[in-house]
């Protein structure tokens, strides 16, 4: 784990990329041109965030990475052995308690009951939901639902973790808490992360690299290594260097339309 915020060394991935996009394009059957010639890699320990105007093809990018939607040209190679996918919506099953929701992915993968229960208990601790195990989604706040959703993916120890604007619907305070939390999870698990957001500060705070996408068809029009170490203290957000980087990305986005 890299822990030297002082030297401002970019946290770069180690080892072979687990997620590779090479000249990937996507045209839907109805003719919608969603992605155009997108190329980038994500290695373990790398956390890449994509920002872009809504409708530019960000969700499509993740659906292609996960294999849910086949792309129309280019090469997409993803280590799909254990993939984590957090949707914009928490997508909890309303008839299951928190505990049983967290067990779901493992259950569908056929993990034995005792093992998945133990792993779910660990994941619930990791996302700070201890004491809420027996609640139903209806009884949870938006933030708690999202944590449950995170925990559900964590149980499988994903090597590739995809996030589709997971905190977009939350208020800013809750979002920042969950960002801090996610940084810790990332340091703990060292997955290859691909994160979608429309919040520039969230993008910079979380990632090792930020990609800026143009309006449809989505192309990559900006690529920034984030020069902060693996530790991302809460008040990094008030650092002048942080603001400066946010400003540059914001400028790119202005041109994106």
């Amino acid at each position: 784990m890299m822990t030297d915020p002082g030297t401002a060394a970019p946290t770069s991935g180690s080892g072979a990329p687990r997620l590779k996009f090479q000249n990937v394009s996507m045209v839907f059957p109805d003719g919608t041109h969603a992605l155009d010639d997108v190329s980038f890699n994500v290695a373990p320990g790398e956390f890449v965030t994509v920002v872009g105007p809504s409708g530019c093809g960000k969700s499509t990018l993740l659906r292609i990475a996960s294999g849910l939607t086949p792309h129309t040209s280019g090469v997409c190679e993803v280590d799909r052995g254990s993939i984590g996918y957090v949707f914009q919506d928490a997508t909890l099953l309303p008839w299951r308690t928190v505990q049983r929701n967290v067990e779901l992915n493992a259950e569908l993968h056929g993990m034995p009951k005792a093992e998945r229960q133990a792993k779910a208990t660990d994941a619930i601790k990791l996302v700070n939901l201890v004491g809420h195990e027996k609640k139903f989604p209806k009884q949870l706040s938006g933030g708690m639902k999202m944590r449950t959703s995170l925990a559900r993916s964590l149980v499988l120890n994903p090597k590739v973790f995809l996030f589709d604007e997971p905190f977009g619907a939350l208020d800013e305070i809750t979002r920042e808490f969950l960002n801090d939390e996610l940084i810790r999870l990332f340091q703990h698990e060292q997955f290859a992360g691909l994160f979608i957001t429309h919040s520039i500060s969230e993008a910079v705070f979380l990632s090792t690299r930020v990609l800026v996408m143009s309006a449809r068809p989505g192309r990559i029009i900006g690529d920034y290594q984030v020069p902060f170490g693996a530790d991302r203290p809460h008040d990094l957000r008030f650092d002048p260097a942080f603001a400066e980087l946010c400003g540059r990305i914001s400028n790119d986005l202005k041109d994106a339309h």
Binding site: L68, T91, W95, L108, F136, K138, L140, S141, E181, L185
Partner: protein, 301 residues
């Protein structure tokens, strides 16, 4: 893990604050404000209804000068129909024996409708062509006037328990099929994606996603079906002369003599109350089953 726990108190504060649902609290106090409001309007309506009944019976009484063909007064229905409550040959008790037969028939028919209906809906949900093949016949079962096919059913199923069961199922199965199918098909697209990502089989998808999600819709179907089942049981009593007889038979027989007409009314009231009780019991069961997770559960009666 020390790193992840250091913020726990502030997390707890941030989360439990919006964890309580203020809307629901307001709703609750709003409801308990005046329980009488729920009962007074229907009670007034009942008084109006009684008034009309008395007026109409009184009119008939004056014109005919004697009670032949006349509509008995409500108090006569109580006195000569329901009372005595517990006598071997008069009043309420013999009617309850018939109602018991109707109850068994209705519950059996409803049970068969639920099992068969869910199975058919599952098959229709699994395959589009099965859906296309079955749906027209489900509609036919619903729209054919039941009385028009009773003679046909007699030829095929005889005149005893079996044919009564078929009549009830013919009426009750349609709402079970359509509501269950709707429930199965309304599973969230993202939930399906989640199951796809986890490489779930068709079977797993059915058991762990579609069927549990369809329970509220299924129960709505069962509530509608319960009304139809009661109708089917009573109609069968009017038509079929053999086999064990239910409350419909009792009503029909008691219509024939004017002196027994208060008993006819008693039977009619019993049959109606039976339908209402079925409806309420199913509503209660539904509420118990899904109140933890389904939004509509709290408001249903």
């Amino acid at each position: 893990m020390a790193m992840t726990t250091q913020h726990v108190p502030s997390f707890e504060a941030a989360l439990t604050d919006d964890g309580e649902d203020p809307v629901r609290t307001i709703e609750r106090t709003g409801k308990s404000r005046n329980p009488l409001r729920n009962f007074v309007p229907p009670f007034l309506m009942f008084l109006v209804f009684l008034g009309i009944w008395y007026a109409y019976s009184g009119l008939r009484y004056d014109i005919a000068a004697q009670r032949i063909n006349a509509l008995p007064f409500p108090h006569e229905v109580i006195r000569d129909g329901f009372l005595p409550l517990w006598d071997e040959n008069n009043g309420l008790r013999p009617a309850l024996g018939y109602l018991w037969v109707t109850l068994i028939g209705t519950l059996t028919g409803l049970g068969v409708s639920i099992v068969l209906g869910v199975m058919i809906a599952v098959v229709m949900n699994l395959s589009k062509s099965a859906e296309r093949a079955i749906f027209p016949y489900a509609v036919v079962a619903q729209t054919v006037p039941i009385l028009a096919i009773l003679p046909l059913l007699t030829q095929v199923f005889g005149e005893k328990f079996m044919v009564r069961l078929v009549v009830i199922v013919l009426i009750a199965i349609f709402p079970v099929i359509t509501n269950t199918l709707f429930g199965l098909q309304s599973a969230d697209r993202l939930h399906h994606d989640l199951f796809t990502l986890n490489k779930a089989s068709r079977w797993t998808r059915l058991w762990k996603l579609e069927l549990p999600g369809a329970v509220p819709a299924l129960m709505t179907g069962v509530r509608i079906a319960s009304g139809g089942a009661v109708i089917g049981a009573v109609v069968a009593d009017f038509f079929f002369t053999r086999g064990e007889k239910g409350i419909g038979f009792f009503i029909r027989v008691k219509q024939q003599r004017a002196s027994e007409r208060p008993e006819m009314f008693m039977g009619t009231i019993l049959a109606s109350m039976f339908g209402v009780v079925m409806f309420l019991v199913i509503g209660y069961i539904t509420n118990r089953a899904i109140r933890n997770w389904h939004d509509s559960a709290r408001d249903r009666t």
